[in-house]
Amino acid sequence: MAESKTLLDLKHARKSFGDNEVLKDISLTVEEGEVLAIIGPSGGGKSTLLRCCTLLETLDGGTLSYGDCVVASDSGSGAVYGGKDVLQRARTHFGLVFQNFNLFPHYTVMKNLIDAPVTVQKVPKDQAVAKAYQLLEKMGLEGKQDMVPCELSGGQQQRVAIARALMLDPAVLFFDEPTSALDPELTKGVLKVIRDLAEEHMTMVIVTHEMKFARDVADHLIFMDGGVIVEQGPAAEVIDNPQHERTRAFLLSEE
């Protein structure tokens, strides 16, 4: 088997908000084609971890790199981030799907999809439009290109948000509790889309409360609580046979 390529490498990540230490020495890697699920109780640091990986928060300590793009290195006294150009280059490596979609409400579905490629990456417009149509079809959103987000259901909006992230061809796609704002019926459609992406070996990091989904779709699973990785391993193994008492308690409470 060919040696897999590490797309994301995070080492000894530390992050505090005031006196509250949210991430305590977290290390993780994401390999090409891997689906990583992160579970755990609220306030356990999952979202902060994701926000640090997507550069929405800065680490206090530790190192972060995407492929050969070193975003943050450790000087010994704390994390040192690269300049604006480095951060901008790093952002081309990943996409992020938010819990509450964060679509641009004043843009049509089409404009939501093509604006970043055209504005940021200078992709020719007709090329972006063609790609947008492909993705809309893949997301089960045919014919919705001229609607504005408020005319769509939450599930449809989230699928537009996934398509928007995919438009930029990210190496890694992050999901921050993508179905938490949706009712069970709408959740299904979104999870199906993510499942399809997993089958195409899209590299993904998914923070989720959907245990069954995490078990099915993820290769690797991390259980986080109190700012540390309590337990990790193959997804099915961790969920079916948790080794740690806290993992067991959490999984029982989620059922």
Partner: protein, 252 residues
Amino acid sequence: MDIVTLINQFGAAYMGLDGSLTLTTLLMRMGGGLIVTFQIFLITLIGSLPLGVLIALGRMSKIKPLSALMRLYISFMRGTPLMLQLMAIYYIPYYVFGIKLSLLNFGPMDIGPVHVEVGWVMTACCIGFILNYAAYFAEIYRGGIQSIARGQYEAAEVLGYTSSQTFMKIVLPQVIKRILPAMGNEVITLVKDTSLAFVLALAEMFTVVKQIVASEVTMVPFILAALFYWLFTILAEFVLGRIEKKLNYYHD
């Protein structure tokens, strides 16, 4: 019988206008003033709408001295009478720099299709209105900008938009929709505030009307002026309503 005579007969019969002041000459003189009023209105908007954005951004800047300065500016501009500001700006070149005010008359100028004689009175007046209204607009913009959810900025950031692209493409269009009702208030106030230009004896409508009332001893110009201002604000309301309707294609 031609229309002028008809109008003048109406004025004579129902308004007591005859001899030295017929209804048509009154309307003509007021019309001249109305054009100046409209010019002040338009120039003020063209200047203060963008200036307000800059002041709002300065006010929200992380650079402390800049933010403090803008705060002071807004406080002063909103805290002193516009009439006083107009007079002060008019006299500044003379009392501060010793420049004769007549030297500041720039002569004829073509602004688009409009040919105007740009004098210091008009210039000072517009500077005053722009500086004053920008302060009010800045606070409205600030409220609007701060009402945009954090997630919009974060989504744009992750997608790789620069901060200026984020502001121009994502934030500002949404802000405009949200602040439109508040802006409407200010715009309508501006229509009537243009009458304050009378303190500089600028020949806008109210100045003209006051002169006619004093010289001809009649209340009629006041009544007509009220109607003109009202019509003007109704027009402004209509335009604002159209813009609001146009932006109504989405809600958030």
